[in-house]
């Protein structure tokens, strides 16, 4: 599948936005300007981006505790995201959700989620709603390697398979669930193998190659849209940062991976890789990348300013938004 240059550049920009946004969130969290804990996906931008670029506005996603990238890839506004992460009234959830619970229903973002695996049944139901409505909207569920050991994974894939629902299960296998290496708690090396248990296609992609991810996702989305049912895609990737920003406040001096491993994966940076790829094909040059980087930085700074300028909710608002 040939991808248009505009789309490629848009994906490049998305990855940059995610990276820049999350670096800023990380630093603001370390600087104690953000309440609660945040999980960033730095190094994993290609999977969110490649999948997100395969979706249209009326398609939907469910996301995870590590969801900023997914949300940005589905069109989430940086300013309202940042304000939510700050816990401000101008945030997507008026400060009630925070980093782990950002949603934008107008964009089909059904929400990040603090419960590992919980998004899969919800995405499956969202796909079912499309069928009931007679629409060809597709829902993508993002989840981690750790979530693939939850019962919710199993029950969702089975349900989606028997009803041929328009849902794509996008697993980001970053090698760890919290501080536990995936291979010590997951009985198969490749999550994609589990597709066989549901008679659906399962595909492994290099999760740091945005083009590969996008091609796989576009195919799976098209299949779903045609009414041919779900696909499981496994993006092999890695998180450069801790499970949670400032994780050593949690686990002390404990180590769960080698520095060298992190360095190896840093060398496979999805952004640098795409730059190389675009350059080699003559689709873009360094000044394009720099321009994008600059624009994105400005956007992120504006988002931070927006968040800082946004008021805290009024305590009275505590009782609002529970019921319709």
């Amino acid at each position: 599948m040939e991808i248009e240059r505009d789309k490629l550049l848009a994906m490049y920009r998305t990855m940059r936005r995610i990276r820049c946004f999350e670096e800023r969130v990380r630093d603001l969290s370390i600087a104690n300007e953000i309440p609660g804990f945040v999980h960033v996906s730095i190094g994993e931008e290609a999977s969110a981006t490649g999948v997100g670029a395969a979706l249209r506005l009326t398609d939907r996603i469910t996301s995870t505790h590590r969801g900023h990238g997914h949300l940005i890839a589905k069109g989430g506004r940086l300013d309202r995201m940042m304000a939510e992460i700050f816990g401000r009234r101008g945030g997507y959830c008026k400060g009630k959700g925070g980093s782990m619970h950002i949603a934008d229903f107008a964009l089909g973002i059904l929400g990040a989620n603090g419960i590992v695996g919980a998004g899969l049944p919800i995405a499956t139901g969202s796909a079912l709603a499309a069928v009931i409505q007679g629409r060809d909207d597709v829902t993508v569920s993002f989840f981690g390697d750790g979530a693939a050991n939850e019962g919710a994974f199993h029950e969702s894939l089975n349900l989606a398979a028997i009803w041929k629902l328009p849902v794509v299960f996008a697993c980001e296998n970053n090698g760890f669930g919290e501080f536990t290496p995936a291979q010590t708690v997951t009985s198969v090396a490749d999550i994609a193998v589990r597709a066989q248990a549901y008679g659906i296609p399962g595909q492994i992609v290099d999760g740091n190659d945005v083009v590969a991810v996008h091609q796989a996702a576009a195919e799976a989305v098209a299949r779903a849209r045609r009414g041919e049912g779900p696909t499981l895609i496994e993006c092999k990737t890695y998180r450069w940062e801790g499970h949670v920003v400032g994780e050593h406040a949690m686990i002390g001096t404990g180590q769960y991976r080698e520095r060298a491993e992190i360095e190896q994966w840093r060398a496979r940076c999805p952004i640098a890789r795409m730059e190389k790829w675009l350059t080699e094909r003559g689709l873009a040059t360094a000044d394009v990348f720099e321009a994008v980087a600059g624009e994105v930085r400005a956007e992120v700074e504006a988002a931070v300013e927006f968040a800082r300028a946004s008021e805290s909710p009024d305590p009275k608002e505590v009782a609002e938004d529970l019921f319709v």
Partner: protein, 323 residues
């Protein structure tokens, strides 16, 4: 008025609401053949798109109902025996209940769950539980417990139309209970208690299957000159505290009858509310009538002893009245 059974009333509600809104659909284990009868014939009427037998996957299909509701459909999801909710608690309590609030009011989750609860004779502990109490402490859910056919229909219709998650608990023993149901559009608002029998000596607040039991006791005690006011909250969330307290204001004495195990029951919650907000109205302790704090036993004689029924209601009333 039409005379019909509890199950028929539920079936009417389902049919009327499914005809009213094409985005309403039904899912659950064996809803096609209909284990408890209420959904029987709906598959033939509404077809495979809108009446769906699910796998035995409570996380999966309960969660799918939540997701479908979030995405604009209006699912009615049956969970057979209410104890099976335990298999899907996360989707109900962490997702359906919380997502609207956490999203700052963006999510609209018009899902209705139906489940059969309570003891109906040697189904043993895993199929006899009264589990609504476990949801009381979870903000974001509405809980309805109809006690007769008219309320079953009216509450279920309101639940389906409600844009929030509602669980309707139907006592397994009430299915065949007959009663008058108003013809035509019949809605019962969520959050309105009903005085099922007016009285002056004592208030008996009763939930679900305890209502007909309490009415039977009230009838019996009337012969002894004891006048019992029987109040049915009908929904535990929202709870119509006003009607409950007004009755206590009238009688100054109250029992709360609930088939749940005593500890942590809805009876306890209601008793606590009365002790806090109606303390000055009371002439006697708030007495709870509930089941023993043991899993519901299989053997009929043990079950008879464990589960609160008429005898317990009667003796509680007599005790409070010194009669």
């Amino acid at each position: 008025m039409a005379l019909m059974t509890f199950i028929q009333a539920i079936q009417e509600a389902l049919i009327e609401e499914m005809e009213r809104d094409p985005l309403t659909f039904l899912m659950g284990e064996d809803v096609v053949l209909a284990v408890f009868g209420a959904t029987r014939g709906l598959y033939e009427r509404f077809g495979p798109m809108r009446v769906r037998n699910t796998p035995i996957s409570e996380i999966g299909f309960v969660g799918a109902a939540v997701g479908a509701a979030m995405a604009g459909a209006r699912p009615i999801c049956e969970v057979e025996f209410a104890s099976f909710f335990y298999c899907a608690f996360d989707q109900v309590c962490n997702q359906a209940a919380k997502l609207r609030y956490m999203s700052g009011g963006q999510a609209k989750i018009p899902v209705t769950f139906r489940a059969v609860y309570g003891s109906a004779g040697s189904a043993a502990a895993q199929h006899s539980e009264t589990v609504y109490s476990q949801f009381l402490n979870v903000p974001g859910l509405k809980l309805a417990v109809p006690s007769d056919p008219a309320d079953a229909k009216g509450l279920l219709k309101s639940a389906i139309r409600d844009d929030n998650p509602v669980i309707v608990f139907e006592h397994v023993g009430l299915g065949g209970l007959r009663g008058e149901v108003p013809e035509g559009e019949h809605l019962v608002a969520l959050g309105q208690a009903a005085i099922k029998r007016p009285g002056t000596d004592i208030t008996a607040i009763a939930i679900g299957a305890m209502v007909s039991r309490t009415l039977a006791v009230a009838e019996k005690l009337a012969a002894d000159g004891i006048s019992v006011e029987v109040v049915d909250p009908r929904t535990l969330m929202p709870l119509d505290e006003e009607t409950l307290l007004a009755s206590v204001a009238k009688t100054s004495r109250v029992i709360v009858a609930d088939e749940a195990h005593l500890r942590g029951s809805a009876a306890s919650e209601i008793a606590a509310i009365i002790a806090e907000k109606g303390f000055d109205l009371l002439d006697a302790p708030v007495k709870r009538v509930a089941s023993l704090d043991v899993p519901v036993p299989f053997s009929p004689v043990l079950e008879q002893r464990a589960v609160a029924r008429e005898a317990a209601i009667e003796s509680a009333i007599r005790e409070l009245l010194g009669a």
